[in-house]
């Protein structure tokens, strides 16, 4: 294995490790190297490995321990913290076949030493038998700048596909978090210490950037059916006498290493060239924002690899298109993807739980047969996971504490890529295993088991609660796709084309509880619903609001600078705020009558530190006839009133539309609770009052109270009412014939 240590140097000299244009973006070489010799057993699920890690203490304090993540032990049984927390959150799922990592040998190899070390699993509060964090006491401290080398021998049995990792029974293996991995030695709460949290239900991962040299020895059946974080070295795999093949792989500046084999899947490759995906408007925007030419902001090339299920072969073009567009837009907005390859895995049907995840240089998507192209499957998930190459893969935040720094930024970016790259996604209904566009105006309520009233819609009969008679339950009718087709006649009763506008669609988070502020560490949040709110859509809406308020050019600069400054590093929320304050100073909300500067410290306080929701509402719009003008024309005094209904104060534009269709836009700084204006001697009536007509404030709680139109148009009411009436009529007629 030692000979592999010289490989990076050689390959760097040959210039074949990083694509053109990426070298200048790598800000620091890793101080961490992993060499791993892996052997996948014939069963396709057990891994034997020898691992050598060289770690240099880049901190400012010594340490006499090494802390390791052993994530795979989360699946070793109900005693793990992950599974205990899952049960606490109401999730009873368990791996069908457990996973487990056994570390058989730990040795210190520094400076000619070769001595055994202890391997102590750290018990966790509430889960004393958890084995997802291990500590290796060292015989002496490792001073700042000093390097320590440790060798491990371990066996990892991966679980049957469960929550991101594992195998399928028919030749698929997604090997992630399969090896003991060092935590991050960094300053936490003012002290230098290991940041190595156990694997918890609400969190994902955190690790240091490293160089990986990994030899993967797999059974012959996996030849040409393997993708990995690392690039393959040499002409091809090496054949071994025992009927196995060995791939030598190498990756640098990545904080994790994943690989996937599937003896049934197809392997395809294509080259990504930005020229094939050009968006001139966005290129011009980035060029203006960064003071560069369009040529300079265009992303560099890379190789796209797809491991896809044979029955999804027809979706290959869509997978590649999604990866390509994502590489283009993310590269354009945040800087080129710096690695030579990106691999995308379409998981096996029996291992779908491994889909929709991101690892450095390797992502998993997910698709189903029979979906309309406009349902954005697999595009949606592929773009999102590819986006994590940039947010988390390159800007490597601590997901235990600040998951929003990757999920939030990535949810924000995903929506923008999908809007820029595809027509809107359509809502669908399903029939004969196919998705058809349309949305029913309402759905019949579904009653849970034990609810007597479920007999009302002829779906279920429950026996009354008689103590001496066993409870009986009959399912009278099963509502399935075909019955729904006949009962509800969706070709007629459905709204024919309901478009999901991805950016706006993030407002669905408004339906949820925002009990906890964004600043609260992710791992300590109340439940998974709160995690979804605080890590994904809420920060995405916050970023969207920031961007709209400050204008696209300035915002593009903020994101680019933040990304480039923290590429291959571990940012904290304060680091983003620092760049925001530096780049966004002077941003104003501009109306036709006034302009008001935005106080970003205040915005941050409301949006991030406190738990404020943002809300304005129209209070009144009145026209009072005034004495006629000298020429006899009518005059009005117009009264307009707006209320701020929450603590979140941010400048807001207000538009008044006049009788002749013209409008004036005012800006209110919202420092008081109300905006009450009188416009004397107006030559015509005001007919409409809109708060934030351009929808800058995506965090606004309720858009329905943001407008007031005198002489309102009831077209929408009629459309809604008729559609619902028609639907109810058909349902009644269908069930009228039943029984």
């Amino acid at each position: 294995m030692r000979h592999m240590a010289v490989l990076p140097v050689v390959l760097l000299l040959l210039g074949c490790l990083t694509p053109k244009g990426s070298a200048q973006e790598a800000v620091a070489a890793a101080d961490l190297q992993y060499e791993i010799d892996v052997r996948l057993e014939e069963d396709g699920r057990t891994i034997q490995a020898d691992l050598v890690v060289r770690w240099t203490n880049t901190g400012k304090a010594p340490t006499s321990e090494l802390h390791w993540h052993v994530y795979n032990n989360a699946w070793s049984g109900p005693q793990s913290l992950w599974l205990q927390e899952a049960r606490r959150h109401g999730d009873q799922s368990q791996p069908k076949v457990v996973g487990d990592t056994q570390v058989e040998q730990v040795r210190l190899l520094t400076q000619g030493e070769d001595q055994p070390l202890d391997w102590n699993y750290q018990s966790q509060p509430g889960a004393p038998l958890d084995r997802t964090v291990a500590i290796t006491p060292l015989p002496r401290s490792v001073a700042p700048g000093e390097t320590v080398q440790v060798a491990l021998r371990f066996t990892a049995a991966l679980p049957q596909a469960f929550r991101r990792s594992g195998w399928g029974p028919h030749g698929y293996l997604h090997a992630v978090q399969w090896y003991p991995k060092l935590g991050v030695f960094e300053q936490l709460d003012g002290n230098w210490q290991w940041n190595c949290e156990p694997y918890r239900y609400l969190t994902e991962f955190y690790a240091d950037f490293a160089t990986y040299e990994v030899r993967l020895t797999v059974p012959e059946r996996y030849r040409d059916h393997l993708v990995a974080t690392g690039s393959f070295l040499g002409e091809g795999p090496q054949d071994n006498a025992d009927g196995t093949v060995t791939y030598e792989t190498f990756a640098e500046q990545v904080h994790d290493y994943a690989w996937t084999v599937d003896s049934n899947a197809l392997l395809m490759e294509r080259e990504f060239h930005a020229e094939n995906y050009r968006d001139e408007q966005q290129e011009a925007l980035m060029a203006r924002a960064l003071g560069k030419t369009e040529e300079e902001v265009r992303p560099s090339s890379t190789r796209m690899i797809l491991l896809i299920q044979p029955e999804h072969e027809g979706l290959a073009d869509r997978y590649f298109d999604a990866v390509g567009k994502a590489l283009y837009y993310y590269g354009l907005w945040y800087g080129s993807y710096p690695y030579p390859t990106i691999s995308c895995v379409d998981p096996a049907n029996d291992a779908r739980q491994t889909g929709g995840m991101e690892y450095p240089r390797l992502i998993t998507g997910g698709a189903r047969l029979g979906r309309l192209a406009t349902t954005m499957s697999p595009e949606g998930v592929t773009v999102h996971e590819l986006g994590h190459q940039f947010w988390y893969g390159l800007v490597g935040n601590d997901e235990f504490r600040h998951a929003w720094l990757d999920e939030g930024f990535n949810t924000y970016s995903t929506a923008r890529v999908l809007e820029a790259g595809w027509p809107p996604e359509l809502e669908t209904w399903s029939v004969f295993g196919r998705e058809v566009a349309g949305r029913l105006p309402m759905t019949l309520p579904s009653y849970g088991e034990g609810e007597l009233r479920s007999v009302l819609d002829l779906t279920r009969w429950e026996s009354p609660d008689l103590r001496w008679v066993p409870a009986l339950s009959y399912e009278l009718r099963h509502r399935h796709d075909l019955e729904r087709l006949f009962a509800e006649l969706p070709p007629i009763t459905a709204f024919p084309r309901v478009e999901k506008m991805r950016v706006t669609d993030n407002r669905r988070v408004m339906d949820h509880d925002w009990t906890e502020p964004l600043q609260k560490p992710t791992m300590d949040l109340l439940n998974s619903s709160m995690r979804r709110v605080n890590a994904y859509r809420r920060p995405a809406l916050t970023l969207e609001t920031m961007g709209r308020l400050m204008g696209e050019e300035r915002w593009a600069r903020v994101l680019y600078r933040y990304h480039q400054t923290w590429r291959f590093r571990h940012p904290q929320p304060q680091d983003f705020l620092d760049i925001l304050l530096a780049e966004a100073q002077g941003a104003e909300v501009i109306g036709t009558e006034e302009r008001v500067a935005i106080d970003w410290q205040s915005f941050w306080k409301h949006a991030y530190l406190d738990n404020d929701r943002l809300g304005f509402s129209v209070h009144h719009l009145r026209n009072v006839p005034a004495p006629a003008a000298e020429d006899g024309s009518a005059r009005f005094t117009v009264y307009a009133g707006i209320r701020r209904v929450s603590d979140f104060a941010v400048p807001v534009p207000i538009r008044i539309t006049w009788d002749d269709g013209s409008s004036t836009t005012h800006v209110w700084d919202a420092k008081t609770w109300t905006w009450d204006q009188r416009f004397a001697d107006a030559p015509m009536r005001a007919v409409r009052l809109d708060i934030d007509p351009e929808r800058l404030l995506m965090l606004e709680d309720d858009w329905l109270d943001n407008s007031l139109q005198l002489d309102g148009d009831d077209r929408i009411s009629w459309d809604m009412g008729i559609q619902v009436m028609l639907w109810a009529q058909q349902v009644l007629q269908y069930y009228g014939g039943a029984g």
Binding site: P441, P445, L458, E475, V498, M510, D690, D702, L732
Partner: protein
């Protein structure tokens, strides 16, 4: 016109009375040894329903009034949506043809109680309609097998009212049958069948996604077919009750099952043709609307009217069919 002397009454719309012969389809001739097919029964029944406009108008009423329970709150609740005429960015919203999903979301958020309450009001109406349909079935069947040519709504309701309780017993007998069919398709037998093709019978554990998909489609087709036959069987039992003016629902079920076994293709064809015509009406009306680019509201009248006629036609045809076989 005295009731005491009916022979003096000039009856102009009565069928020829011959109690010894089975009833034939409307206008059909008694050809010994050969019974007419489904189109003949359906055609005659269609004429029967169309020639009773008062009944049709009456049956239209509940379909115009009951859905208002759901639609009115929605109509009133959609008022705040009026100012939302444009997407963020300015493109105009073109409801109902093209709608952004966020409009629905904002609306749902603004009416957290009204919309679920409106939807929840529908199940009791479903049950009511299912029971009211027994009156409708009895009405059409009664008119179809009546020896007198009756046109009045009163006769229709009279037949329906008399048939309600016997029919209700078949309705109750139908419940365990529905449960049984559902159990076959989604319970242990289906699990066993799926288990022949998939590990643990679970599509999520199958090596191939297609296997699970096709099995699911097959299951739905079988279930739909079973429901169809079950409905046909129940209607046939009701026809049997009507023809013989009998009271025992259980015996009617047995008799109609026997009739089904003896005439499977005739009955199946009759049912399929009836449903097919109804589907044709629905699809045709929608196709014409789309070609003419007409608004949606006329469908509120056209669809239910057509479906009422088709349903009446099916019941009447089935009654005549059963009567023609009930030798």
């Amino acid at each position: 016109m005295s009731e005491q002397n009916p022979h003096n009454t000039l009856v102009v719309d009565a069928f020829p009375v011959d109690d010894q012969k089975p009833l034939m389809p409307f206008g059909g001739e008694d050809t010994p040894g050969r019974l007419p097919g489904a189109p003949s029964f359906l055609g005659g029944a269609l004429l029967l329903t169309l020639s009773r406009p008062r009944v049709l108008l009456f049956l239209l009423l509940p379909l115009l009034l009951l859905p208002l329970v759901v639609a009115l709150p929605v109509f009133l609740g959609a008022e705040p949506l009026a100012p939302l005429q444009a997407n963020p960015g300015g493109t105009e919203i073109d409801l109902p043809e093209i709608a952004p999903s966020w409009v629905f979301r904002e609306w749902t958020r603004a009416m957290p109680e009204t919309l679920p309450a409106a939807a929840a009001s529908l199940p009791p109406l479903l049950l009511f309609m299912s029971l009211f349909n027994l009156v409708i079935t009895g009405g059409w069947m009664g008119l179809a097998v009546s020896r007198r040519r009756e046109h009045s709504l009163r006769s229709f309701l009279g037949h329906g009212g008399r048939a309600f309780f016997p029919f209700l017993r078949t309705w109750f007998l139908g419940l365990p049958l529905f449960a049984f069919v559902t159990w076959i398709c989604w319970g242990t037998p289906a699990e066993w069948f799926f288990g022949l093709f998939l590990p643990e019978g679970d599509p999520a554990l199958g090596a191939s996604e297609s296997t699970g998909r096709w099995l699911e489609i097959l299951r739905q087709l079988i279930y739909l077919n079973a429901l169809f036959k079950l409905e046909l069987w129940l209607d046939l039992a009701r026809a049997s009750l009507t023809i013989g003016e009998r009271r025992s629902a259980l015996l009617a079920m047995v008799r109609s099952f026997w009739l089904f076994v003896r005439n499977p293709w005739g009955l199946y064809g009759l049912g399929l043709c009836g449903f097919g015509l109804e589907l044709l009406w629905i699809a045709g009306a929608e196709a014409i609307r789309q070609v003419l680019d007409a608004p949606l509201w006329p469908m509120l009248l056209i669809l239910p009217f057509g479906r009422i006629v088709m349903r009446g036609m099916r019941y009447a045809a089935l009654a005549r069919f059963a009567a023609s076989r009930a030798v």
